[in-house]
């Protein structure tokens, strides 16, 4: 079973990603990072989720409370004030694992072989870990990140939220030369949860899935308000890429993170020009296509396991 660390900012789609990962992968820990909401909120949400899924054996570790250089930007317009509105979940009694997420990532990767990192929020923790322990570069087997886009952005015309929030951190990570799979908006918007998916999940009728259905109902409503045709399964795509790589098609590309542009700050600049004109080596496997039906089968079958 593949060993992973989930670095996240729950987040409705983070919630689904965690529940998906926990039944297929050996989740060594969940680290939190300021992103969709404040570090306090997303950390509380992570603890709630391990209780909702009976996953309290997985340690939850609190991470960076803001980006490397910039002021934090949150996404209450998508995830609500708590960062995970829509479901009544009791205040968690599970305790955080002591220590900082950055040190947890370093210690775990240095002591465990072939760890795969699953970053689903701004890349602050991962960048700090890479700077603090440069040997991580050779230790991390693979990263499967949700972030960026090879087409349009969401927070700006060109930038996706996770990368935009901490583009300097993203720049460090993208230049790390660690093998990387990137599930950007160009991919994740191909998997849209709709009312019929929510109905199917609610019908499973276990304590976990009723919470999931409530969360998805809220998330679908904010997505619809933003003129989307459904609730994009952003973070679960990055998990699915590890569980079943045959779901997704990848193209190797050189990807650079723009950190200076007036209109393009936080853009993942994906060089998808025809081979002959490319000047730089590919550093990222960019996910370009996903089998949406099979993805939802995997997700819903997994939720039946709770």
């Amino acid at each position: 079973m593949t060993s992973v660390i989930i670095d996240c900012d729950p987040g409705h789609d983070d919630a689904l990603a965690i529940l998906l990962a926990a039944k297929h992968l050996d989740v060594l820990g969940i680290t939190t990072v300021s992103g969709n909401e404040s570090i306090d909120n997303v950390t509380t949400n992570a603890l709630k989720l391990v209780e909702v899924g009976n996953l309290t054996h997985i340690p939850v570790v609190r991470g960076a409370e803001g980006p490397l250089l910039r002021e934090a930007v949150y996404a209450p317009q998508v995830h609500g004030k708590s960062g995970m509105d829509g479901a009544e979940i009791p205040e968690p009694t599970t305790k955080l694992k002591e220590g900082h997420a950055v040190d947890f990532i370093i210690d775990t990767v240095m002591s465990t072989s072939d760890v795969v990192l699953l970053p689903m929020g701004p890349l602050t923790n991962i960048a700090l870990a890479l700077r603090k322990e440069p040997r991580l570069r050779d230790r991390v087997k693979l990263m499967s990140i949700m972030g960026g886009s090879s087409t349009n952005g969401n927070i700006t015309p060109t930038a996706e939220f996770n990368i935009y929030v901490d583009a300097e951190a993203a720049d460090i990570v993208y230049q790390s030369q660690i093998p990387m799979l990137m599930s950007g908006l160009n991919l994740t918007r191909q998997v849209l949860a709709k009312q019929e998916h929510i109905d199917e999940i609610r019908a499973i009728n276990n304590p976990t899935t009723s919470v999931v259905a409530d969360l998805l109902t809220f998330y679908l409503a904010t997505s619809t308000r933003h003129s989307h045709d459904g609730a994009a399964m952003h973070d679960p795509c990055a998990v699915a890429a590890i569980i079943d790589p045959t779901l997704i098609e990848f193209e190797p590309m050189h990807v650079a993170v723009e950190t200076a542009g007036t209109h393009t700050y936080g853009m993942t600049v994906c060089d998808d020009r025809p081979g002959s004109v490319k000047s730089k080596e590919a550093n990222v496997e960019v996910a370009v296509k996903i089998d949406s039906d099979r993805f939802f089968k995997l997700l819903i079958d997994t939720l039946r396991m709770y």
């Binding site: 349009n152 927070i155 989307h228 200076a260 853009m267 020009r273």
Partner: protein, 315 residues
């Protein structure tokens, strides 16, 4: 002569030459003048090529003016790897006996537009240095422009860089000036620029034609087949001219546009806001203000464009 009055601003260039042939031969268009700008090749070469190709089109009466020799801010770089050292893919045309007029391109355009009561259309096929300079010196001139058709920019990937198209990358500041002006603009982007193509057999048939314009067009396309080592050759800039001939064959979208000037990886990128619900209104701190709106050619009917090209150059 009847037809729509247009001025062409060119950096000739193989595909500018195709555009000049098409515009000069099309009865629907009345080319009132051609202005030259440095781009694909240095300005003197642009002037030479422009005069010679107009001569081929039997259109040496059209005034040709020499324009800006360098971009406003950016360093000059050419595209001789695509267009050959002479800018015409190595094809030697008979030297035209015509010469450039004794006026700078910007002064020529300002004077011509000022002297006509009708609104004019400008088709800009190179870096926007001449047009930006015109708009900065004579800002009121924009009210006399019916339409500005620009070949430039990219929605998806670029050609010069991952995100930037050559004409805009060559003079991003000029493009920024132009997109900030209140002129009805039709943008013929790189994404559609590459779509209208002819294969080797079709190119050979053109070369064999009795019609000199068609034969020269075939030779120009052949040079692309050779230098780019591709199976098909595109008409490039000529497609922007064809938009005026067959407007019903294009699909457009009006979108906010900005030119990225500062980006480390993105300088010269045309940034379009294609999001369904624009966050810019809600989060001014996050979203830098967007320059202006532009009509962008999103798609075109390839067969109509191919036919328009072949049919008109023989007229």
């Amino acid at each position: 002569m009847s037809g729509r009055n247009i001025f062409l601003d060119v950096d000739t260039g193989v595909d500018d030459a195709l555009a000049l042939l098409l515009a000069a031969r099309s009865p629907q268009l009345n080319v009132k003048g051609v202005t030259c700008v440095a781009g694909n090749v240095p300005i003197d070469r642009v002037v030479r090529n422009t005069l010679d190709i107009l001569n081929v089109a039997d259109a040496s009466h059209i005034p040709v003016a020499r324009g800006m020799e360098f971009p406003l801010v950016e360093k000059m770089f050419n595209a001789t790897e695509i267009h050959g050292e002479n800018g015409l893919g190595g094809i030697d045309l008979p030297a035209s006996r015509s010469t450039v007029i004794d006026k700078h391109a910007v002064e020529f355009l300002a004077g011509e537009i000022d002297n006509t009561s009708e609104k004019v259309t400008i088709v800009a096929l190179g870096p926007l240095t001449n047009i930006a300079t015109l708009f900065r010196i004579y800002p009121n001139i924009v009210s006399s422009i019916e339409q500005l058709v620009i070949m430039g920019g990219a929605i998806g990937s670029g050609n010069t860089t991952a995100t930037a198209e050559f004409n805009i990358r060559q003079d991003p500041e000029a493009a920024d000036v132009v997109f900030n002006m209140d002129v009805p603009t039709l943008l013929y982007v790189w994404d559609v620029f590459t779509k209208v193509r002819f294969d080797k057999q079709e190119v050979d048939e053109m070369i064999a034609s009795d019609n000199n314009c068609k034969s020269i067009a075939g030779k120009l396309l052949l040079s692309y087949l050779t230098t780019k080592k591709e199976d098909t050759a595109g008409i490039g800039d000529a497609g922007a001219v064809a938009c005026l001939l067959i407007p019903e064959a294009i699909t457009t979208a009006v979108m906010p546009i900005s030119v990225e000037l500062i980006g480390e990886h993105t300088r010269g990128q045309t940034v379009f806001d294609q999001r369904k619900r624009k966050l810019s209104r809600l989060q001014p701190k996050i979203q830098k203000s967007i320059s202006g709106m532009t009509e962008v050619v999103m798609d075109l009917d390839v067969e109509s464009f191919r036919n328009a090209f072949v049919d008109n150059i023989v007229k």
